[in-house]
């Protein structure tokens, strides 16, 4: 947790102070792709190598999958509704203001 925060702060400082020369700026994007691949493979290996977890999967796995799926559906739906609601309010606000102005 604290390690992650430290990495983030160091990164933001490097970016903010523009320590990296312009020529090498694209390298951060390569770095992120390579480390993303390594991270996901290592995460996967931990799940795949955990035989206990796999044994429990058949029993609790279905319930867990349903719950995980539903939490995602619920949060995406609410954020989507909230976003649309704000957009509508903004639209009507803009419309009212433009009629007042004219």
């Amino acid at each position: 947790m604290w390690t992650i925060l430290a990495f983030l702060v160091v990164g933001i400082l490097i970016g903010y102070l523009q320590i990296i020369p312009k020529r090498f700026e694209r390298w951060t994007s390569y770095l992120s792709i390579v480390s993303l691949t390594v991270m996901l493979a290592a995460m996967g290996a931990q799940i795949g190598g955990n035989k206990q977890l796999f044994a429990k999967l058949s029993n609790l796995g279905f319930k867990a999958f349903v719950l995980a799926f539903m939490t995602i559906i619920g949060s995406v739906l609410l954020v989507w509704l909230g976003e649309n609601w704000r957009q509508r309010r903004k639209d009507s606000y803009d419309k009212n203001n433009s009629t007042v102005a004219s």
Binding site: T3, I4, F7, L8, V9, V10, G11, I12, L13, I14, G15, Y16, Q18, T28, S29, L31, S32, I33, S35, L36, T37, V38, M39, L40, A41, A42, M43, G44, A45, Q46, I47, G48, G49, N50, L53, F54, K56, L57, L60, G61, K63, A64, F65, V66, L67, A68, F69, M70, T71, I72, I73, G74, S75, V76, L77, L78, V79, W80, G82, E83
Partner: protein
């Protein structure tokens, strides 16, 4: 992006399942932590460069907390509906949902406060949530909206899923995602004990 994600994840699982010596699992944990560190640093570099975004978000003030609020309510409601269908009591389903993808903490909390079985269910549910989030974020960013792409990640949008959000959306969304993850992470140790204690 989705192809890279899917390919590395699946090959990792296959590698771990078929070949990996259990004694090497500790190294995988180290490798993934350091790779995550590098990833977060490169996200930080890109965010630090983008100075406009910060001032724009600062001017929004407390509004940025609307996103984690909606994600929290949506996750708990979703878990309640799923739990109703699975015949889980409301306190169990809502507490599992309030893990917001932070599987280690919600798993440990519920094992200690309630029982091992619910702890394991919370652990698995929130691992699945993180994996499903990794897979559906690029799709949501492309087809629905940048903000809805943040929603599936829950508390993980401040670390493990932040790089994917940064890659598939813009830097304003990435900063919002970090705030979203941090807020939800702070809510997990409060909401899980609270919800499991509610008896209807």
């Amino acid at each position: 992006m989705t192809k890279i994600i899917l390919l590395s994840l699946v090959s990792g699982v296959a590698l771990g399942y078929l070949w990996l010596d259990p004694s090497l699992l500790g190294y995988c944990d180290k490798i993934s932590t350091y790779a995550l560190g590098l990833l977060i640093m490169s996200v930080g570099i890109e965010l630090g460069r983008d100075k406009e975004t910060w001032s724009r978000l600062y001017s929004k003030g407390l509004q940025v907390l609307l996103l984690p609020l909606l994600v929290a309510i949506g996750s708990i409601l979703g878990a309640l509906i799923g739990g109703f269908w699975l015949d889980l009591p409301a306190n169990e389903a809502s507490a599992v949902g309030a893990g917001f993808g932070w599987y280690s903490l919600s798993g440990v909390l519920l094992t200690k406060l309630y029982n091992v079985e619910l702890g394991t269910l919370a652990f698995l549910t929130n691992i699945f949530r993180e994996l499903l989030a990794i897979l559906c974020m690029p799709l949501l960013a492309k087809h629905l909206s940048f903000l809805t792409a943040v929603a599936p990640g829950g508390a993980t949008t401040m670390d493990t899923t932040l790089p994917i959000i940064a890659k598939t959306t813009d830097s304003e969304t990435a900063v919002l995602a970090f705030i979203n993850g941090a807020t939800l992470s702070a809510l997990v140790p409060l909401l899980v004990p609270l919800l499991i204690g509610i008896k209807l």
